[in-house]
Amino acid sequence: MNAADPIIRLHKINKSFGTFRALTSVSLTIAAGEKVVILGPSGSGKSTLLRTINRLEPIDSGTITIDGRNLNDPGEDINRIRMEVGMVFQSFNLFRHKTVLENLTLAPIKLKGMARGQAEALAMVLLDKVGMGDRASHYPIQLSGGQQQRVAIARALAMEPKIMLFDEPTSALDPEMINEVLEVMVALAREGMTMAVVTHEMGFAREVADRVIFMDAGAIVEEGTPTDFFTSPKTPRGQQFLKQIL
């Protein structure tokens, strides 16, 4: 696929929670294979924006197109689209009643009709990739936060998605566990996965992002390459944000 093809296209998205306007006319396109990091102060709408992409957050108005399919179209099966969009959450959300291996095999078996043996083989490849192959028979509660998050990434990958969304994947982790998760994400980025990442990890943004989106008060204020944004932010709000975090 041509790297310039937009695989995600958000057009004039509006979203309110009661009287609070979470997103105001936000438009964003992400090309296949592109890695986009979304930054911004808390409450700026970055997580909400990410969650509209797989419609975990329904929108009030606007259009969302994923891989050429319109999410608002009633004829479109949202569940089929979600199969192609993996998501990693701040709080991991591993299925607590399933082992690590079962967390990875549940969706491929039930949704794709994959044979158990094949699903387990795929799961083991992915678990090895995130360094969790030796914990396949453990339950989530027996793992550290960093380990749970690596399993959660592998679980999303088990559906072989075209896009991966990360919603503050390291924010709930103890500092010493952040790197093990970021390393997995960096490796995934190197393999050419399309990624949209909401994070506070500026090092990750600098190293991996093709493009940085800076949001404030429900709107995209500024976007550009990480080098441009981190060295010479164009807007006063961007400058202020960087001053606060660096």
Partner: protein, 262 residues
């Protein structure tokens, strides 16, 4: 990061199911159990007439009591699951119907419901007394059970639902594969409570010509005039059954919690 506490639901008026750390209740359980067994053995030995006679006459009813209990609870669990799902449904009509059912049932004494359903059914169809009793018990306990299921489902962290949806599961699959298997663990103690409460409440069906433990006892007592002795034995039999059941349920609960242990 500390793991979130597992939500425990405490509902119902069934016998207390002692958690292993509740020392007071655990020793009370042993004392009550040994006391009940001891008396059930000692009394007939010391005074065979009437205690041994009672012990020979009444147990026919135990089977009936169990039959009514097991049939009612099975039906009540099905009704309860549907009601619980109905109570959290986003379909307003289904939600209202389920809520109305719960409100109405909770507001009417069980004994009145028993009579009502028994005689209401009797106007239209002729059903065996036992069937009428089971339907009435299940109708009533289905509402209680509905609240237990609703609380159990609601106790599962919303992140589990989001993770499931994000993989491509629809709401029904999410309920079946992710939420209910976890909710079951939370629900089991209150369901166990309801089971024991229901077993005790089946004594009410003795009024409907169903030959349960209490009915057998009343028959014996009214013939022999040994009221005190008969009801002593009946109370001991019920006590023994509920004590054993509460233990079995707490063992089951422990088994089901395997994924919560580090």
């Amino acid at each position: 990061m500390p793991e979130p506490e597992i939500t425990k639901i405490e509902v119902g008026d069934g016998a207390a199911i002692p958690s292993p750390d509740d020392r007071g209740l655990v020793s009370a359980w042993w004392i009550a159990l040994l006391g009940a067994i001891g008396l059930l053995i000692a009394l007939p030995l010391i005074k065979p007439d009437p205690y041994l006679r009672i012990l020979k006459f009444v147990p026919d009813g135990i089977l009936i009591t169990f039959e009514v209990t097991v049939l009612s609870i099975s039906l009540a669990i099905v009704i309860g699951l549907l009601t619980g799902l109905g109570r959290i449904s986003r379909n307003r009509f289904i939600n209202l119907a389920a809520s109305l059912y719960v409100e109405v049932v909770r507001g009417i004494p069980l004994l009145v419901q028993l009579f009502y359903i028994y005689y209401a059914l009797g106007r239209f169809v002729r059903v065996p007394d036992l069937v009428a009793a089971v339907i009435a018990m299940a109708f009533c306990y289905g509402a209680y059970m509905g609240e237990v299921f609703r609380a159990g489902i609601k106790s599962i962290d919303h992140g589990q639902t989001e993770a499931s949806l994000s993989l491509g599961f629809n709401h029904r699959q999410t309920m079946a594969y992710v939420i209910l298997p976890q909710a079951w663990r939370t629900i089991l103690p209150p369901v166990g409570n309801e089971f024991i409460a229901l077993l005790k409440d089946t004594s009410l069906v003795s009024i409907l010509a169903v030959a349960d433990i209490l009915r057998r006892g009343r028959e014996y007592a009214s013939e022999s005039f040994n009221y005190f002795e008969t009801y002593t034995m009946i109370a001991l039999i019920y006590l023994l059954i509920t004590l054993v059941l509460s233990k079995l349920i707490s063992i089951m609960e422990y088994r089901l919690s395997h994924y919560e242990r580090r």
